[in-house]
Symmetry: C2
Subunit: 363 residues, 2 copies
């Protein structure tokens, strides 16, 4: 399978696959194992705090009743990428499950704290944790998710990883987690600024989203027993994929369909989020459009007319198209890095399909 | 040196030492090494988030200028106890410094998030982090402190600890950290309840304060190369010490002197904190006193008359004296456990002096 993405000249790129099924296969393949590992990582010992954790993980509703609909469990992108990389490089993916679970727990930790900071009331088609339980309890539940992640890595010993591998995995998780946290800080610091352009955006998102996907690639390769060189390359692949994924997320955050994304329409404009389309427009708009956009993004709160005007400025300047080009460029970088690493044909095809899926998805 | 504490019948107990100096010696002994380890654990790479971390650690003021006054660095109880246990059990305390630094970073993580949750505006004679930088940034800075703590443990390798010891230290820190977080959750859940008595209080504080001091004792023994039995005993010693310390803290939170504690007078009454004296009074007060106390603690905010009335109810029922008895009982438990572990005379004397100091301190 070789696909070509629009607007991208890199040779490593790909033809669209015959069916969407090809993208989704790894998610389905690892889903049950991952859920088992996650539930092992978050023991149900009747602790009161666990109810919040189980809600956040999409296992229970706010009354503690089991949830059947898996859509509130999220995409599980980070652990799936980790397990796929592990298997593609010849590893036993089941041995990597504790690491995959740790990545998903760290991701959920970041979501819980993000939602508190941004005041977001809905995620994955449900009320956010703080909105149901209040900020103090949600803050603590986020902290617990991070502690559970560290504890999950301890289970690598049970599946036969050496002490050295465990320590290396633990060090990678801490380092990338810290980078992610720093990215979150940069994101907050952008809220009050108007001088955010493409390069500032990429600096932020490299850390906020790129760091944990880098870690996913690194962990997968590490637990496949790959060389340090391959671990680094799969980390860079994940990092580029992370940026591509986030830029596509930014597109969906403005132009996505509520029914499929689980977020309000034009959500990121209402929230004055300095996502890529907005950063691009703030940097490149001129004349009246520039003045209007800066005026709108200086207001404490936006009205419906502000949102419509901002949206038309973004569309006039081609922010949507430029965003998609950036997403595809970074996807292309991910594939170019992938090409440097030896792996099975099956694995390479599956990773390429995942990359393609992530920059074209509608949810 | 053998001291006797008032109101305590346990035989293991102690005579007051000749000078306060004896209590403070270990804090002074390890201070420089600990500060060096902490600064290594939080590298100054010019990152914007680091400014908040350095403020919280008491190294800089809010403008990034170095702070000379060490009082805003806190007591460093947890790392000092860890290093003292390590040395008392025959270990090289300098090898335990990365673990000691990790304990102090975890403690500071918990303080930053606590202050956000409680809305406290002052700590260690200075404005709290969230009060200066806002809640979203402070929340992220707290997260960063936890990530720095995990990374600090990686340095145990540099000082010659085996991979197994590193993994054991890391597992202890994650487990106790999770217990501490669960304790914090219980504390929040008590805010809206009036049925909090002695046993509920002890359950909460066992985790919120006891867990990290347990970890300090365990880490110190582990890094001294002690047996699993001694690691467990020093953990139990730290755990009892933690409860004793917290109950004394609760006394100071109501009856302490602002100039020495760095907190507002009667602070914990104003904040309606379910600290031990209040839990004791809520359980044991009868008649009018009980009705008044429950009325006051049902109000959303207290006035000056409420605070005075609550205080007089606490004093009438002997809550202050009962609190000191509990602190001393738990200190006595700590000493009884200490007696089971083989260690140097010097070390035992120093730990006993520390225990005595912590339940009699005025700050």
């Amino acid at each position: 399978m070789r696909y070509v993405l629009s607007g991208v000249s890199q040779e490593a790129f790909l033809q669209p696959p015959a069916e969407e099924q090809a993208f989704l296969a790894p998610f389905e393949r690892y889903r049950r194992g991952l859920q088992t590992a996650l539930r092992q990582a978050v023991p149900s010992d009747g602790d009161r705090l666990d109810a919040l954790v189980r809600y956040q993980m999409g296992w229970e509703d706010e009354k503690g009743q089991p949830v059947e609909d898996a859509s509130c469990q999220g995409k599980a992108l980070r652990p799936t990428f980790c397990l796929l990389v592990c298997e593609a490089l010849g590893g036993d993916w089941e041995r990597a499950l504790p690491a995959a679970a740790a990545l998903e727990l760290v991701h959920n930790f970041s979501l819980v704290h993000d939602d508190i900071q941004d005041g977001d009331t809905e995620r994955r088609h449900r009320p956010t944790l703080w909105y149901l339980w209040g900020r103090p309890r949600a803050l603590v539940a986020g902290d617990a998710l991070l502690a559970h992640a560290a504890r999950s890595l301890e289970r690598l010993a049970d599946s036969g990883s050496s002490s050295e591998t465990q320590l290396r995995a633990s060090a990678l998780l801490s380092l990338r987690c810290l980078e992610m946290i720093e990215g979150q800080y940069i994101d907050i610091s952008y809220e009050s600024r108007l001088d955010i352009g493409e390069s500032e955006y990429v600096e932020m998102v490299s850390q906020k989203t790129g760091a944990l996907l880098r870690c996913s690639g690194e962990m997968g390769a590490l637990l496949a027993g790959a060389s340090g060189e391959s671990v680094g390359a799969m980390g860079r692949c994940g990092h580029s994929l992370g940026i591509a994924f986030q830029v596509r997320d930014d597109i969906l955050g403005i132009w996505g369909d509520t029914a499929t994304t689980g977020k309000a329409a034009r959500n990121d404009i209402w929230r004055k989020k300095k996502s890529f389309p907005v950063a691009y427009a703030l940097e490149h708009a001129t004349g009246t459009a520039r003045r209007e956009l800066r005026r709108i993004y200086s207001k404490p709160e936006l009205g419906a007319r502000d949102v419509e005007l901002a949206l038309s400025i973004l569309e006039d300047i081609g922010a949507r198209e430029r965003s998609q080009v950036l997403a595809e460029e970074r996807a292309s970088d991910a594939l170019a890095t992938l090409a440097q690493v030896e792996m099975s044909h099956w694995g390479r095809d599956a990773i390429e399909a995942m990359v393609y899926f992530l920059v074209h998805r509608e949810y």
